[in-house]
């Protein structure tokens, strides 16, 4: 899209000449969202949960970086030589990086496996990183994440209800948030992405992003609907829809700008560093930012309109608007 046509696109959205029926077709979006939620809940149940990272399972992990040799057998042997009945999982996580995961090893065993890996893969001692995670660690992480989720949603809901002076906006925003969270979780389960503590933090950051986006759009909605009861130009639903359309260019620009740095971390993380903090964080964010923007446009705003449409004052106003339109149509 050239600049001129993008600007024109923005102009037409702003003036209402071009308009997408975000609010009018809300039942369709809700239906899609409902289906997505249902699928997102069914998938993990059918698949038997998520691909939990070592932090949730407990065990020992070694990472060998900067190796020319990516033969998984070397890693397996390095472990089974020390602990004969171990079942190591060896993965080539980046171009020159191998990851070996196994059950928890003792200190001595860890040192021996380390030596085996150093000689097996022909790397310096500096290239082998080891970590081990106790079996209860994952519970801690999950519990903290849940607490964080709860506290944040509660505080954010209060903040929004105070700022917008209506609980309906807070409710709509939270509903969209839940959709985003559930669907992101579903995608994680479906695609077998590894769930690590970093991914969970990425997950929590999505909350912030999704809400942030909703606040910006709701701010415009509030502005557009401030005097709606005394106007006969547009119905409340139309005003909400106009607000979403008017902020559409911003939504697109914001999402693109937010996703560019995340994508660059994701790219570097996946291809050069291998699985780890950067990749897990950015993957969760990448999915979440896209879903967060969609959630605001297709769920939060239409839901807010739907929540308020039955208010008597707005019904009266709608009647007035429609009445005026029909007389005008008759006049012309």
């Amino acid at each position: 899209m050239s600049r001129t046509s993008f600007a024109t696109f923005g102009n037409e959205l702003y003036s209402g000449k071009r308009s997408y029926p975000f609010v009018a077709k809300r039942n369709l979006w809700f239906l899609i969202a409902g289906a997505a939620i249902l699928i997102s809940i069914i998938i993990p149940v059918v698949k038997g949960g998520f691909n939990l990272g070592i932090d949730f399972r407990g065990g020992s992990e070694f990472t060998v970086s900067a190796t020319q040799n990516t033969d998984a057998a070397i890693g397996e042997r390095a472990v089974t030589d020390v602990v004969s009945d171990a079942v190591p999982r060896v993965t080539n996580i980046a171009a020159d990086t191998m990851r070996i995961q196994t059950e928890r090893l003792s200190d001595d065993e860890t040192l021996k496996v380390r030596d085996n890996l150093v000689s097996g893969y022909g790397v310096g001692e500096d290239q082998v990183t080891s970590s081990f995670v106790g079996p209860t660690w994952g519970e801690d992480v999950s519990r903290q994440a849940l607490i964080g989720f709860g506290v944040f949603v509660l505080l954010a809901a209060i903040l929004m209800a105070i700022y917008f002076r209506t609980w309906k906006m807070a409710l709509a925003a939270m509903a969209a948030l839940v959709v985003v969270m559930v669907v992101t979780a579903g995608l994680y389960s479906l695609s077998d992405f590894e769930v690590t503590p970093s991914a969970i933090i990425g997950f929590l950051t999505i909350l912030s992003y999704a809400l942030y986006d909703t606040v910006v759009v709701f701010d415009k909605i509030r502005e557009n609907t401030a005097d709606v009861t005394v106007s006969t130009k547009r119905t409340f639903a139309e005003q909400v829809n106009l607000a979403v359309n008017q902020t559409l260019v911003r939504s697109i620009n914001t999402s693109v700008v937010a996703i560019l740095p995340v994508a660059s971390i994701l790219f570097i993380g996946s291809f050069l560093l291998g699985a780890g903090t950067l990749q897990d964080l950015s993957l969760a964010l990448f999915i979440g930012i896209i879903l967060g923007t969609l959630g605001t446009i297709f769920i939060a705003a239409p839901l807010y309109a739907a929540l308020r449409l039955n208010e008597p004052a707005l019904k009266k106003q709608e009647k007035k608007v429609l009445g005026r339109r029909s007389t005008e149509a008759a006049a012309v």
Binding site: R3, F6, N11, E12, S15, G16, K17, D55, D108, E125, Q127, T129, S130, S131, F132, G134, T136, D140, V141, Q144, G148, V151, F152, L155, M160, S198, I201, L204, T205, S208, L211, Y212, V216, D219, D227, V230, S231, T232, K233, T247, R250, N253, V257, A258, I259, L260, P261, V262, S264, I265, F267, L272, L273, G276, T277, L278, L281, L285, A331, V332
Partner: protein, 607 residues
């Protein structure tokens, strides 16, 4: 608003921002000259290389750990790690329930065991004591003069506990050598005697077997000592409160020790925590009620510290390694380098996209991002110095993610300005009006960002605190920059010919934004007017009054004209549906924009 108003204010704000930046830089410069500050951020372990252990303290009995107990646990681990001679170790708490130990390099198994070992408090009687330094190597006590047990020891204070080996160990113990303060990885068996140092007085002792375990302490407190008349004296004292069992045993112990008599070291008992003597008071009386009071040369601080330590004894804490990570320094350096590369690529992409979307206005975005970057960098360095904040890989990720979120504030602002231009305002007033509206949105949305960062920071486990921290820090930097840089710069730019006249490359070209000036100068008004027409039509008295108040002079004049016209011709002006956009003719777009813009900058005064 006087013509010079926004410009002067803008310049003043920019000067303030410069002063703020300079202040941070001077602070850091002075810090690096006179103190330990550095011009580069301090790096966390995952970037610097080293070992990180996350320990979960476990309180005996399975009850939850209190913040005081956790602090005490940190203190104990700190002493252990310092004692083991590991330099630059860092011990912190996290989320009020874990202890994080970060060590450079790879710790030996002994250090690991030591860190995990459970700390125990015990009361042991003193068998003999002496000054802390080791006996000179040339003159050890001759073998035949070593004390030899004559019989099986009768009680815990019996000197028969002292074997020649134990005495030799005692003699060679050097309490002035920091290494000797290293707690033993294996705690001494409770039913055997031991040798121990008292770090505070630098004395050393041979102690009998444990008589009262720390778990028999109910609580401990400190306060000003009272005379027998109940008057507060000017000396501090620590009071122990034993439970029933402890009271009973302690009565027996004090009976025996008191009987030994003053002056004999065996009159003393030692409170041992983690293999070191916390205090070794003499016994002045038999304590039947289980409430001994320890007095001495206490300051309020040392009394409080002893009371804390005693309280800790009531609930021995053991540590369980939850996770341990060893990261080589080269891997850390690699990750940092690639992380920075990712950040740079992200920044370039964002810069390219803003240039594409906002033309030269994109330069403002880039400059703002740079200023935000400088502020954040300085803040991280200063915090590294004053608060020992260390940048982790997750922190770097937070910084990169923040590029997008920071840029969004500018997008919100620019889109608002464009909206105002579309409504037909001139650039100067569009900037002011756009800002008034964008400001609110930016504040509200940043509040959400900050809230998320705070929640993440306080509940985060593992390495992600750094992420939350940089996310919060950049949100604040973003606010500072939007208010103190972006907006003032735009105010100034709005007055330049290039932007003010809406050069096609400025990104603020009204003709491209579909804006037609409301007032085109020389008393001419814009033809198809969405706002005025709608107002003229509305039936609601209150709304039209409100709307009229909002009209500019030019708009009002036009509305009046239209009213008059409507009165004459009936339903004139109604053929155009109100919901439609003003569709400017090609002539209107190009023909008179310049004149209109210059005129409209004054029009705002009556808003």
């Amino acid at each position: 608003m006087p013509r010079t108003g926004p410009g002067t204010a803008a310049k003043r704000t920019l000067v303030w921002l410069g002063a703020l930046t300079a202040l941070l830089a001077i602070l850091l410069g002075a810090g690096s000259y006179w103190s330990t500050a550095s011009w580069s951020p301090r790096l966390a372990l995952d970037l610097e290389g080293g070992t990180q252990m996350i320990l979960a303290p476990r309180v005996q009995g399975g009850s939850d750990i209190t913040p005081e107990q956790l602090d005490q646990a940190v203190e104990i681990i700190r002493q252990r790690v310092d004692g083991s001679g590991v330099a630059e170790a860092e011990i912190n708490t996290q989320s009020g329930q874990n202890v994080i130990v970060s060590l450079p390099g790879t710790p030996d198994p002994q250090t690991r065991d030591l860190i995990q070992a459970s700390a125990q408090m015990e009361f042991r009687p003193v068998l003999t004591g002496g000054p802390g330094q080791a006996a000179a190597a040339e003159t050890p006590t001759p073998d035949d003069q070593l004390p030899k047990p004559a019989a099986e020891p009768q009680n815990a204070s019996d000197p028969n506990w002292i074997t020649p080996e134990l005495y030799k160990e005692f003699e060679s113990l050097d309490c002035l050598d920091p290494a000797s303060l290293e707690p033993a990885a294996e705690p001494a068996p409770a039913d055997k005697p031991m040798v121990a140092c008292e770090p505070d007085t630098q004395g050393k002792y041979i102690l009998g077997p444990v008589e009262v375990p720390g778990t028999d302490i109910s609580t401990a407190s400190y306060g000003l000592q009272r005379s027998s008349q109940g008057q507060a004296l000017n000396t501090w004292a620590v009071t122990i409160d034993f439970n029933d069992e402890g009271t009973e045993i302690f009565r027996e112990v004090t009976e025996r020790l008191y009987a030994i008599g003053q002056g004999d070291p065996r009159n003393q008992f030692a409170i041992v925590l983690d293999g070191r003597i916390v205090s070794a008071p003499t016994t002045n009386a038999v304590i039947p009620d289980g409430n001994p009071q320890i007095t001495g040369n206490f300051t309020e601080e040392s009394a409080a510290a002893l009371a804390e330590q005693l309280k800790y004894g009531a609930l021995p804490i053991s540590f369980e390694i939850q996770s341990e990570q060893q990261i080589s320094a080269t891997l850390g350096a690699d990750q940092l380098r690639l992380g920075l590369v990712a950040g740079l690529i992200g920044l370039l992409l964002v810069a390219a996209y803003s240039m594409f979307q906002y033309r030269l206005l994109g330069l403002v975005t880039i400059a703002s991002l740079v200023v935000a970057g400088i502020l954040t960098y300085l803040a991280i360095c200063v915090l590294g110095w004053t608060e020992n904040y260390r940048l982790s890989l997750a922190g770097v990720a937070g910084l990169i993610v923040a590029i997008g979120q920071t840029a969004d504030s500018f997008i919100v602002y620019f889109e608002r300005i464009r909206d105002e231009l579309r409504d037909g305002r001139g650039l100067v007033s569009a900037v002011e009006n756009g800002w008034r509206r964008a400001k609110r949105t930016v504040l509200a949305s940043k509040a959400v960002n900050l809230l998320a960062a705070l929640v993440l920071y306080f509940v985060a486990v593992g390495n992600v605190r750094g992420f939350a921290f940089t996310l919060g820090l950049t949100a604040i930097a973003d606010l500072v920059v939007v208010f103190m840089f972006t907006h003032p710069v735009l105010r100034l730019l709005a007055k330049t010919k290039f932007f003010g006249e809406g050069h096609p490359w400025s990104g603020l070209d009204p003709s491209r934004l579909g804006g037609i000036p409301l007032y085109r100068g020389a008393g001419r008004l814009r033809e198809p007017g969405q706002v005025p027409v709608a107002v003229a039509r509305t039936k609601n008295k209150g709304a039209s009054a409100e709307a009229e108040r909002r009209l500019t002079i030019a708009e009002r004049r036009r509305a009046e004209q239209q009213k008059a016209l409507a009165g004459r011709t009936g339903s004139a002006g109604r053929t155009e549906p109100a919901g439609d956009s003003p569709e400017p003719s090609a002539a209107a777009r190009t023909g008179s924009t310049v004149a209109g813009r210059t005129g409209s900058s004054q029009k705002e005064t009556n808003e």
